[in-house]
């Protein structure tokens, strides 16, 4: 298990290759990558991500451990950035390796659902017309009822 919280960019390809190396026991590898979308319709200049140092790592570790307890997983990776990002930048990624594809997919979706509303990150969109905190979506909270 590897949990990384960092300001610097990460290299999706290098991370995916490194994660997929190793045991031939995991036939299935799933990655999810989140990219800064220009939600404001071409207006977004910067996405600022604030987090709670200390709690962030604890929360992500707990979420990843829970995924490992629920599914048969060979490995789990979570990378999440904070600081100032631009549209098109990669915010975060999760990766799961498992003997079976169903486990790898479900665990990755679980990680994403919990990471969205249980890890202490807050997004702020800065556009030409001002700055606004991104509101949490009901659908993200509702997604947790699946698990």
């Amino acid at each position: 298990m590897r949990i990384v919280v960092q300001e610097d960019p990460f290299d999706l390809g290098a991370e995916a290759n490194a994660f997929a190396e190793g045991s031939a026991e995991n036939g299935a590898i799933v990655t999810f990558t989140g990219v800064v979308r220009d939600l404001a319709g071409g207006d977004l200049d910067v996405m600022e991500i604030e987090h709670y140092p200390g709690m962030t790592e604890r929360a992500l570790t707990k979420i990843a451990q829970e995924a490992q307890a629920r599914w048969s997983l060979g490995d789990v990776l979570v990378i999440h950035r904070h600081g100032r990002l631009s549209p098109g930048d990669r915010i975060m990624m999760v990766a799961t390796a498992a003997p079976h594809r169903k486990d790898a997919f479900e665990a990755a979706e679980y990680l994403m659902d919990y990471l969205k509303s249980r890890a202490p990150f807050w997004k702020k969109e800065i556009t030409r017309s001002g700055a606004e905190w991104v509101a949490a979506k009901d659908e993200d909270e509702d997604a947790l009822t699946r698990w």
């Binding site: 604030e50 709670y52 709690m55 994403m112 969205k116 249980r118 202490p120 905190w133 991104v134």
Partner: protein
């Protein structure tokens, strides 16, 4: 104890962190105490259904007791991912 504020809670209150001496029994008591201090606190805590609280870096709730707690954090619902 240390009290931390994040995102718009931090912006409304105007500081990211402060040391608070309190005998508040629960999180709600602490919120009432802070809200009584100054308008900026009252504004930040106006609707606690829009807020989340963590005690010693674990998500908790507003009924939770504060005894033994060293760090309290207030923030809006999280928007990671």
């Amino acid at each position: 104890m240390d009290v931390l504020y994040f995102a718009w809670v931090r912006e409304r209150i105007g500081i990211p962190k402060e040391r608070v001496e309190t005998s508040a029994a629960t999180v709600s008591d602490l919120v009432a105490e802070l809200s009584a201090r100054e308008d900026r606190y009252a504004a930040a805590f106006a609707d606690i259904s829009a807020l989340r609280v963590a005690l010693d870096q674990e998500l908790s709730d507003f009924d939770a007791p504060l005894s033994g707690v060293r760090e309290v954090a207030f923030f809006p619902p999280m928007t990671g991912g």
